[in-house]
Every structure is written in structure tokens, then in C-alpha cells.
């Protein structure tokens, strides 16, 4: 049976790729982006099955109006994919207030507003799947990506909670955590702080070196079949890694964290007091 999919940030990257894959197999897609002209070609091919809507996810009221428009057009929303987001590169110290706020606005608050707007619809349906594009960097960190890490860690905490709160209402949630992919995430889509503080030059150099291995990046097209599988699954996971590097890496990260915690275990327990 065909599904109604609502996907944000659908003008490029994963978003556009997935929107097209849904349309190709006959699903109905509401696709939002600040600028939807990149979707014109898909409209020409898929006509009424695609509803492109210009939307800035930072505007909560606009988000709620958009969800109403989608419900009016398609009658329901089976799957929400919170995909809009971008990367801010730079040290924590060099991040301006405006840069920090905008990173949280788009990557975190945007997801919160869209989720809040869609939840009443899914509650009425007693059915729905909220898919949040998080990141491997929502689980572990890299220097120079502090605010991006913060925004993705935050959506992990948020959507994990939504999952717990809505399970009894027939709503499912999944956090997708891709490792590096050859999208323009680190290129044209990225934002950058100043690099005025020379003390950080070694950190920047080490980072640039570590990013020199694009062979470790996944192919965006390869995510299509797994995503369709996820959407069609009766029991989707709460979390799903994308990419061959992520699983081994996160196992190591968690093992190390538990080991580190052991070092101060007695201090922790004594601090309970009884």
C-alpha cells in the first residue's frame, strides 16, 4: 500500500534522493525546503503525488500551517522524516552567538517543531513513524564540530524521549545515524566559524588530515534500499546506523567510556550518601 511521507530538507542530499525513491515506487511525498525550485523536475515527473512546500523549519507557526496543508492534501501522514540540517565547522571558542543559535535552530528546534506539529495527526491516526536523521556525531564527537555534536546529541535525547512517550499511542520513532557520506554536508552545505585564534592551528591541521580519506565515506544512493526497508518494517528499530564504519566505532567508544567510568567508580558511589 502506498504511504504518505513528509520529508524536510528535501532540496538536496539524502532528502532529495529519498523523496525521489518514494515517488518512484508510488508513495505520496510532501517535500519541504526553504527553496523548492530544486524539486521542479520531480513535480514534472510525478505530478500530484509530490507536494513541494517552501518551509523554514525555524518558524514554528509556519511549520504547524504546513502540516495542516499536507493533511488537507493527502488526508494523513504515515511517515515523518526530519532531515533538514547542516554542519557548522569551527572551534567552540570561535563560534559566535549567532552561529551557535542558528545551528541549534535548524538541527534541533526545527526537528522539535515539526515533530510537535505532526504528533497530533499521528495520534488521531493511532499510527505513524517519526524518522529523525541524527548522525554518528550524535553519539560521539569530533573536535571543530562542537555545536554540530551538541545539536545531534540533543536530537538523540529528544527523539528517544518521544519514542518512550508515544509508544502506547501507536507511534514509532527511529534515529538514523549515518557515518560520513559523500553528500555536500562537509562542502557547499556547511557553515564555518572564523579561525582567528592561532593557538588552534594544530587542532585544525589534525582535523584536515583526518578528513583526507573520502574512501571511508558511504555512497548516498546506497541508503535508499535500507531506508525503504526501514519505512516498511512493522517493528522498526529505535536507532539505525548507516554505513560500514559506524558499528565497530561506536562499540569501541562505548567500551572505552565504561572503562573510563570504572576508574572513578568508588567516588561516584560514595557520592550517593547511603
Amino acid at each position: 500500500m502506498s504511504k504518505v511521507i513528509f520529508i524536510t530538507g528535501a532540496s538536496k542530499g539524502f532528502g532529495k534522493l529519498w523523496a525521489e525513491a518514494f515517488l518512484k515506487r508510488g508513495d505520496k511525498v510532501a517535500a519541504t525546503a526553504r527553496n523548492t525550485t530544486a524539486l521542479n523536475e520531480l513535480v514534472a515527473t510525478y505530478g500530484d503525488n509530490l507536494l513541494p512546500l517552501p518551509l523554514d523549519v525555524n518558524n514554528r507557526e509556519e511549520v504547524f500551517n504546513t502540516v495542516q496543508t499536507i493533511e488537507q492534501k493527502f488526508g494523513r501522514i504515515d511517515v515523518l522524516i526530519n532531515n533538514a540540517g547542516y554542519g557548522l565547522f569551527g572551534t567552540t571558542e570561535e563560534t559566535t552567538e549567532a552561529q551557535a543559535r542558528l545551528q541549534m535552530e535548524t538541527n534541533f528546534f526545527g526537528s522539535l517543531w515539526v515533530t510537535q506539529a505532526v504528533l497530533p495527526v499521528m495520534r488521531r491516526q493511532k499510527n505513524g513513524h517519526i524518522i529523525q536523521v541524527s548522525s554518528f556525531l550524535g553519539l560521539t564527537t569530533l573536535p571543530l564540530l562542537g555545536l554540530y555534536n551538541a545539536s545531534k546529541f540533543a536530537v538523540e535525547g529528544l527523539i528517544e524521549t518521544v519514542g518512550t512517550e508515544t509508544a502506547h499511542l501507536g507511534i514509532k520513532t527511529t534515529l538514523i545515524e549515518p557515518n560520513g557520506y559523500a553528500t555536500d554536508w562537509a562542502g557547499a552545505s556547511a557553515s564555518q566559524t572564523s579561525s582567528d585564534i592561532v593557538d588552534y592551528a594544530p587542532v585544525r591541521e589534525a582535523f584536515a588530515k583526518s578528513a583526507e580519506h573520502p574512501d571511508t565515506w558511504g555512497k548516498p544512493e546506497a541508503t535508499i534500499a535500507p531506508l525503504l526497508n526501514l519505512v516498511d518494517n512493522a517493528n522498526p528499530p529505535q536507532r539505525l546506523l548507516f554505513g560500514k564504519i559506524a558499528y565497530q566505532a561506536i562499540q569501541q567508544v562505548y567500551t572505552q567510556r565504561l572503562k573510563d567510568i570504572e576508574t572513578w567508580k568508588e567516588v561516584s558511589i560514595a557520592a550517593h550518601g547511603h
Partner: protein
């Protein structure tokens, strides 16, 4: 040797207990709050070593000025404790835009601004310790606390990345992760959203577990030793749980997550291409 500590939001709860202990042993303390009258007794008792400052940490300019004042006053800064923060109760769907924005401003951006203000001094002197009040709910979540969870998860991600950026300067970062304690967190300090019926069941479940074993909550006074040890450590850890629940439950939560990722690993690998 005595240390100089800058701490935010120390007018009550953990912060208040910690600064009393720090002043008692001879450390110098700069403590900020939106309302500093709560510090009057400490000003009288420790006139030379205690400095209260009125500060709204969500105002970046004011934060920079407060940090400068503190450094000018004592001439050195060893430790910054980002302690200011509060809880917000409400299912994610129930949260108002204002409540959601306010808690992120205080718990995350306030922490960011204070951290940013301290870094130039720490870099210049070649040492410093940034202690962030996170929570076990920065590692795993509880329902009805979605925005609080998100704010503490964010502090975790920010601070872990920061630690990697500044380790070359002799600057340490520690995330302190308390479990539930008998502070005002669940009562006086917290904000509550307007409830929707659909979530009553979840709310009842949460407060039922909250009321369960009496020793589930830690005794705030018992955290003093841990904080003093942390401040005095040559190589402080990146993370420190306060209380007996953190380590236990985190091990279970990590195992649950890893088991699910493992189950779906063939899908993850196929997605690489």
C-alpha cells in the same frame, strides 16, 4: 594550595553546598546568580575570599564582563563550574515554544557562553578545568523530561568535543552526571508544561517510579568529597557520575543500544555502498 573557582547558579542546591565546602577549606570563590542576596551570609563570613556577582548567563556580553571582573579580582582562575540549570517537565508534544527555548538558552547556551569566556584566560595561563553539570539524563532519557534530556545531551556533545579541542593547552573538561538527588530539582526549580490527556499514563508511570525506593535519591551533602577530589585531581576524568545509579544503568542502556545496532548491522553495512 588554594584554588580560585568561578561557579554559576550557586544560590541553592548542589552549587550552594559546594561553595560552602570550598570556602571552608580556604578556596576563593566567585559565585553568580540572577539574585545574589542569597549569598549575603557567605559575604559576611568570607569577605576576602568570596565574591558574588549578579549575572544572567544567557546574556553573552554580561558573561564576558563577569568573567573579566572575576579574573581581575583574584588575579587567577583555576576552575569554572557551569552549575546553573533547571528542569522542564512536560511531554514533548506539550511543550510551548517559549519553555523549550528558555531551557536550551540556560542549560546549553549559558554553559557555552561561560565556557567561551573562560577559555582565553585558561589558554593564556596554560591550565584550567571546566566542570559542566550534566546529568545521567545527558546519557539516557526519561519520559516527560524530553527538553531537559535534550539540553543535557547537548552539553555532553559540546563538552566532549571541547575537551578534544583544548587538551593541548593543559585545559581539562569534566562532565558531572548526577542521578536523582534530594535537591529542589523536581519541585521549586522546575517548570511544568500544560498537560494533554494522551500523556497522563506516561506521567503517572514516571511519578510512580519517582516515588519508589526511598534510597533512590542521593544525599546532596555526600557529593562534596567527590567534587573536591575532582577539583584537586591532576588528571580529572572526562565524565564523573554522582550517585550509585549512573554506572549501573548506563551499562544496561549501552548494551541495549549495541544489541539493536548489531541486529541491524547488515542494513547499516548495505547502506554504505
Amino acid at each position: 594550595m588554594s584554588k580560585t573557582i568561578f561557579i554559576t547558579g550557586a544560590s541553592k542546591g548542589f552549587g550552594r553546598i559546594w561553595i560552602s565546602a570550598l570556602l571552608e577549606r580556604g578556596d576563593k570563590v566567585v559565585a553568580t546568580s540572577r539574585n545574589i542576596s542569597a549569598y549575603d551570609d557567605l559575604v559576611i563570613k568570607y569577605p576576602a575570599t568570596f565574591m558574588p556577582l549578579t549575572l544572567d548567563i544567557t546574556n553573552k556580553q554580561a558573561v564576558n564582563e563577569a568573567m573579566e571582573k572575576a579574573v581581575l579580582h583574584f588575579g587567577i582562575l583555576d576552575v569554572v563550574i557551569n552549575n546553573a540549570g533547571y528542569g522542564l517537565f512536560g511531554a514533548v508534544e506539550e511543550l510551548s515554544e517559549k519553555d523549550a527555548r528558555d531551557i536550551l538558552d540556560t542549560n546549553v547556551l549559558g554553559t557555552l557562553f561561560v565556557t567561551q569566556a573562560a577559555l582565553p584566560f585558561f589558554r593564556a595561563q596554560g591550565h584550567g578545568h571546566i566542570i559542566q553539570l550534566s546529568s545521567v539524563l545527558g546519557v539516557w532519557s526519561l519520559p516527560i523530561l524530553g527538553m531537559y534530556n535534550a539540553s543535557k545531551f547537548a552539553v555532553e556533545g559540546l563538552s566532549e568535543a571541547l575537551a578534544k579541542e583544548v587538551e593541548g593547552f593543559g585545559i581539562h573538561v569534566t562532565l558531572v552526571e548526577p542521578n536523582g538527588y534530594k535537591t529542589e530539582f523536581g519541585s521549586g526549580s522546575a517548570v511544568r508544561a500544560n498537560p494533554l490527556k494522551a500523556y497522563d499514563h506516561v506521567r503517572e508511570e514516571l511519578f510512580k517510579t519517582e516515588g519508589m525506593p526511598a534510597d533512590q535519591y542521593g544525599n546532596p551533602e555526600a557529593t562534596v568529597d567527590a567534587i573536591l577530589q575532582l577539583i584537586d585531581a591532576k588528571n580529572p576524568p572526562l565524565r564523573l557520575f554522582l550517585g550509585n545509579l549512573g554506572l549501573r544503568k548506563t551499562r544496561v542502556e549501552f548494551q541495549k543500544k549495541i544489541a539493536e545496532w548489531e541486529l541491524w548491522d547488515n542494513v547499516a553495512v548495505a547502506a554504505h555502498g
